[in-house]
């Protein structure tokens, strides 16, 4: 009689363990998937920036440094994105992307400030449209980032609480996944001034 009970209990425990393993894998895949949403939006943003800089160059020929800083930051961020996209589970890559994005935000912020002194540029149709698209894309990036961070938090929380915490490292889920965090650009918080 006892053997039977032991066997059944053993089976239940085995299934419980398998369930934990599967859930860890599922949660990890979910945040990796969520990353691909960010990737799409970030790529769109990076594609807009060279256009923006070209348009600005026409009016701001003396502001070489500021413009170049933006292009460099953008290239850095693009490289960071490609590295992170290879493996969103790699916390280092995500953190690097975060700081590259922060730097890009800073460079774009400085560009905005400098642009204040060039009212002709601000009134330029092309510029207005690009700024609008950039802001809209950045809103989407922020949203996708929020979804990604939510999924990462779900994964980390599950991994760190009982019972998964007992088995997580055995199953290969060692480090915490990294949140993608950086300061949002000031301009994003305010509604764009463009009128249609």
């Amino acid at each position: 009689m006892e053997t039977i009970i032991v066997l059944v209990v053993l089976a239940a425990v085995v299934f419980w363990i398998v369930g934990i393993y599967n859930k860890l894998v599922t949660l990890k895949n979910r945040f990796k998937n969520a990353f691909s949403q960010i990737e799409v939006q970030l790529k769109r943003r990076y594609d807009l920036i060279p256009n923006l800089v070209e348009t600005a160059k026409g009016y701001m020929s003396h502001e070489r440094e500021t413009l170049e800083a933006v292009i460099n930051a953008r290239n850095q961020a693009l490289a960071g994105l490609q590295a992170a996209a290879q493996d969103p589970g790699n916390a280092e890559a995500i953190k690097q992307l975060g700081s590259a994005e922060g730097a890009l935000g800073g460079a774009l912020g400085r560009l905005s400030v400098v642009m204040e002194a060039y009212p002709d540029l601000k009134a330029n149709q092309n510029m207005m449209q690009l700024s609008e698209e950039l802001t809209s894309t950045e809103n989407r990036v922020a949203f996708a980032r929020q979804a990604y961070n939510d999924q990462v938090t779900d994964y980390n929380t599950y991994k760190q609480t009982f019972p998964a915490v007992l088995l997580a490292s055995t199953f290969g889920h060692v480090g915490n996944a990294a949140l993608l965090e950086y300061e949002d650009r000031e301009a994003m918080q305010a509604a764009p001034q463009v009128s249609f």
Partner: protein, 643 residues
């Protein structure tokens, strides 16, 4: 077989399934008992001078042993089934993730993939079910599946190979086949089947493990004899396990094979294009991998796929699908027996952007006229070509900007918020403030931009857009979803009254999003006759009547009478001027529990009430949409094209 019959049939099939399963478990119990007895026989007779024959030994086993072994087997099977049942509680999404699928969203999709998403969207709208999210399976073979406990949490899974190798017509055929499974309730049984079978199959998994463990540790044993019982046990469990797999596959075959023919036929009826699905099948025949799946979990779900997951000898009774040539011939009797060699042709080229109107197989001519209530009801849950044409037209007529908004998760929320903006300028300003405080940056401005286009849409168009926005909304994170719902509720409450459209929108959103984010819910059928829900029916018909004739109580009464004439039970007309949504919700909750075969009558009465004046105004159409959703009846878009 119509939608309601199919639903009823699906329930009956479940009982058959349970019967077969019980038979299988009993056989397993007997086999295990025999096995253990045999093991004990060998272990006790080795070394005896004149061992008694096996049969005597068998009979000599104490009853207690039999009972305990049986209990043990039942215990194991139950634990295994329970585990699988719990892990599938997440609905369709759980299966897709189990099979290694990743969500295919609009922004990530391009070329062939976005064409697939267009096809899924138009078919969903045509059949009146929510647009299911699409998961991409990284396999090179041609296959697809549909999973879900109901249409609300349904997902469609597609192999990469399917997207690469099939043309639009063929993709349509495959997707139509999957949709017919969803609409006919097959997906629910299929999920139950996985849970049930897991209990039987896992014994062989244990057998495997024992043998493997023994192989590594057994060579150390000094006494060869004492090892034999354990090997025997392991091998025996393996045998029993395969006996379990045998029964399992028999059950699967019995339950699913016939339905594959039906689904193929439904696909033809839907697209009115037998060549689409026939060519897809021929391509499976012509591709070297065919429809084979490499991921291990596909075995458990093999009955849910479009094509056979593991190649077997053609006429094997264990096949989950009819043989390929038979399926092709059932659709195309004049088939010459040749497959389409896919390996040679390689991947299919999109040939330019996918324009919805450009390729409809049937000319997208105007509205479907389904004047009589019978016709309307007959259309519930049917996949018809006319419905498909109507859906394509609805989608093509939608403002591009709104369509794009519906297709990404950020925009979709803004779109719904825009639909909830009030007409009154002061209230609207208050709502914008609310959004500024509680929604993400950029949302109020975006909502304002969409509002111009949204304001011009009638309720019916808005509901179609909402359906189109479902996959994007389902890709929100849990926290984003909760914020979204609470914002919507706050917007609805901001003018201190609930309009009919707000009620319908709220119901549709919750109905379709809740199963995805909070787990599917179970509807227990409770009412076997309309008599027990007479009061609720009265409330329902009265509401429809008053909505169609808000200013004219006598016309409302007439409409009500037209509807109640369709029923053979007495119903009471309530002439309250304002709709009490609490009562309506309560009424619908009860009516949802009607036996499926009674719902057509109810719907017919509703349709008759709405059509009493020979026209359906936008409000009535929206209300019918909300009611059909509440009753789990997919209502195709033809009601929106009434005169």
């Amino acid at each position: 077989m119509n939608f309601f019959e199919a639903q009823d049939n699906a329930r009956r099939k479940t009982w058959q399934l349970i019967a077969l399963f019980t038979g299988a478990v009993i056989s397993l119990i007997l086999l295990t008992n025999l096995l253990v007895a045999a093991v004990m026989f060998y272990s006790t007779t080795t070394g005896m001078a004149s061992p008694a024959p096996f049969s005597e030994r068998l009979v000599a086993l104490p009853t207690r042993t039999w009972v305990m072994i049986s209990l043990g087997v039942v215990g194991m099977v139950s634990v295994a089934c329970l585990y699988k049942y719990l892990s599938l509680r997440g609905g369709g999404r759980a299966i897709a993730e189990m099979l290694g699928g990743s969500l295919l969203t609009r922004d990530v999709a391009s070329g062939n993939a976005s064409r697939l998403l267009n096809i899924v969207e138009e078919m969903a709208i045509a059949s009146g079910i929510p647009v299911p999210p699409v998961y991409l399976i990284p396999e090179t073979s041609i296959n697809a599946f549909a999973a879900g406990l109901s249409a609300d949490d349904a997902v469609i899974g597609i192999n990469q190979g399917t997207i690469d190798h099939l043309k639009r017509d063929e993709l349509q055929g495959v997707v139509a086949h999957e949709f017919s499974h969803i609409v006919n309730g097959d997906t629910r049984i299929n999920l139950r089947l996985i849970a049930a079978l897991h209990g039987i199959i896992f014994l062989s998994m244990i057998g495997h493990t024992i043998l493997r463990g023994f192989r590594y540790g057994g060579s150390r044993r000094s006494n060869g004899n004492s090892g034999v019982p354990i090997i025997a046990l392991g091998a025996g469990l393996l045998v029993i396990g395969y006996a379990g797999t045998f029964f399992g596959n028999l059950i699967k075959a019995a339950v699913s094979r016939q339905r594959e023919y039906l689904a193929d036929a439904a696909a033809v009826q839907f697209t009115r294009n037998p060549h689409g699905i026939a060519d897809a099948l021929k391509k499976i025949g012509g591709l070297s991998q065919g429809s084979r799946m490499t991921v291990a979990a596909a075995d458990e779900a093999s009955h849910m796929f479009f094509g056979q997951v593991h190649p077997l000898f053609l006429n094997s009774i264990m096949a989950t699908h009819p043989p390929l040539p038979k399926r092709i011939r059932a659709i195309e009797p004049s088939w010459d027996g040749g497959f389409i060699d896919v390996d040679a042709t390689g991947t299919v080229d999109t040939g330019g952007p996918d324009t919805v109107s450009a390729f409809s197989a049937v000319s997208g001519s105007a509205a479907v006229t389904a004047a009589a209530p019978e016709r309307l009801v007959a259309e519930v849950g049917t996949l018809s070509t006319a419905g498909l044409a109507a859906a394509q037209k609805l989608i093509a007529d939608t403002d591009n900007r709104l369509r794009e908004a519906a297709h990404d998760s950020w925009g979709a929320r803004g779109l719904i918020y825009a639909m909830l903006l009030a007409q009154d300028a002061e209230v609207r300003a208050g709502q914008q403030d609310l959004l500024a405080q509680q929604a993400e940056p950029g949302v109020p401005e975006y909502t304002r931009q969409l509002a111009d286009a949204v304001d011009q849409l009638d309720a019916a168009r808005r509901l179609t857009l909402t359906e189109m926005a479902m996959p994007a909304l389902k890709s929100l994170s849990q926290q984003q979803y909760q914020r979204f719902v609470s914002n919507c509720i706050a917007l609805i409450k901001s003018d201190r009254r609930i309009s009919l459209f707000e009620w319908v929108l709220h119901r549709v959103l919750l109905k379709e999003l809740r199963p995805h984010f909070e787990g599917p819910s179970r509807v227990r059928v409770r009412h076997g006759s309309l008599r027990s829900v007479a009061g609720e029916t009265g409330t329902l018909l009265s509401t429809i009547a008053r909505t169609g004739h808000p200013q004219d109580p006598s016309a409302a009464r007439q409409a009500f009478d037209a509807g109640s004439a369709m029923l053979d039970i007495p119903v009471q007309f309530s002439d309250q001027p304002d709709t009490n949504f609490q009562d309506l919700n309560a009424a619908l909750a009860e009516l949802r529990r009607l036996k499926p075969l009674l719902k057509p009558k109810l719907l017919k009465a509703c349709a008759a009430t709405a059509l009493a004046d020979d026209s359906i105004v936008s409000n009535e159409a929206a209300l019918l949409h909300g009611i059909a959703a509440a009753l789990d009846c997919p209502l195709p878009p033809s009601i929106y094209t009434q005169g």
